[in-house]
Assembly symmetry: C2
Homo-oligomer: 216 residues x 2
């Protein structure tokens, strides 16, 4: 299991803190702004006011117990997030996950020892744009070159069996699962007839899946 | 295909604009701050400076061409996002997707006609916390009660065949796909032997999948 330290309690940092606590993890929340510390105090094991670019202040925290640090310092303090990341690694925290604000910031964070960087706005902007431009496409899992994608059944498929559609030979697409209302069936039989409103879980190249999703 | 209007060009709004343009969509970007409009002008079909709580200013935009509006006005102007959403619906935009900042804001937005609301920080905070607390768990697709989840093969599975593991009878889990290096195989045979480093794509209840992910 392990203990987490989360530094920087803006909207994103507070969401990470609350969700880690909900998953039953032990969390130490840190921010230089007393009001932000006050906002999460009730929800965590411990909450501390500290400027984490101050090595002295950081060294006084119980970092040896932490298996992972999450640095969610904001866009207006990118130097502080870089300095904090470097200090956490020097003080021996094994894994440091850091929020980045652009490609250059991400590269510098990785250079000073961040284990992972992520940019929540970019990631969510990408997902929303994908969802808006292909309304038939739902959630996706990227697996190397292939992807597993939820697709609303195109009208052109309704009333036909999976054998007739022959997606494997025509587009190299496998139907992994079929959802009809609340029921989900893994590896549907080839004789299964597709109905309107079915959701198909397809595995194939991103281009092949988009072609299916673009059918009327 | 259709045309999109994106209102509010903070980090998230700019990411939506850039990703819609990359998907080949036509985008009209709007903000009351000229500097923000300047930042995206080169990347979009049209970019306009306007205060979208001003009905007159909004009515002058070519809204009749828009199939969808995205309102990404920031946390410091929640009233503006509510008012803008209401006006867009009154002026006939068929679909309005709006960023929300808390549950109350989301409920009010839905009450004035938002088609969908989303909170990027909450969503990403939830995903990150899930990934951090279950390191063996990768991406997921929620399908009603079941979920399709990428799981790193636990050591306890290595060297055993899928038939021996008998996940379907023991945990009601189906192995939909198996990834080994760059190769991904859908519906692996039951005689397939699992190797260290394999990634399994499992379908089953969230609790059953977590039990597999928690094995050493
Ligand atoms: N040196 C530092 N030490 C500790 N906390 C810091 C430091 N510098 C900034 N912070 C904290 O980081 C937090 C997040 O920053 P800020 O609120 O500016 O970001 P934001 O981009 O608006 O965040 P969000 O989008 O998550 O709301 C703030 O609460 C701020 O006090
Ligand atoms: N009435 C309005 N009409 C048009 N644009 C507006 C209006 N009110 C606010 N905006 C714009 O919304 C944008 C996003 O707001 P802001 O930058 O405060 O949000 P933020 O929460 O920091 O965003 P992000 O997290 O996406 O960076 C700003 O560019 C602002 O000018």
């Amino acid at each position: 299991s392990g203990e987490f330290i989360v530094i920087g309690l803006g909207r994103f940092g507070r969401s990470v803190v609350l969700n880690l606590t909900r998953q039953g993890r032990s969390v130490l929340a840190v921010d230089l702004d007393p009001e932000r510390v006050e906002m999460v105090k009730e929800d965590v094991d411990a909450a501390v006011i500290a400027d984490t670019t101050d090595e002295q202040a950081l060294a006084e925290l119980p970092l040896e117990r932490m298996t992972c640090a999450v640095v969610t310092i904001g866009a207006r303090a990118t130097e502080a997030s870089i300095l904090t990341t470097a200090l956490l690694r020097q003080l021996g925290v094994p894994r440091v996950v850091v929020r980045s604000f652009n490609d250059l910031h991400a590269r510098v964070l990785l250079a000073v020892g961040a284990s992972e960087v992520l940019n929540p706005e970019d990631e969510m902007g990408r997902r929303l744009a994908l969802h808006l431009s292909n309304p038939a496409i739902g959630e996706q899992i990227q697996l190397g070159d292939a992807s597993i994608t939820e697709v609303e059944t195109p009208e052109a498929f309704v009333g036909r069996s999976l054998a007739e559609l022959d997606l494997r030979n025509r587009l190299d697409i496998t139907v992994l699962a079929l959802r009809r209302g609340d029921r989900v069936r893994a590896n549907p039989r080839s004789s299964e007839q597709v109905e309107s409103g079915d959701v198909l879980v397809l595995m194939g190249s991103a281009a092949a899946v988009r072609r299916v999703a673009a059918l009327e």
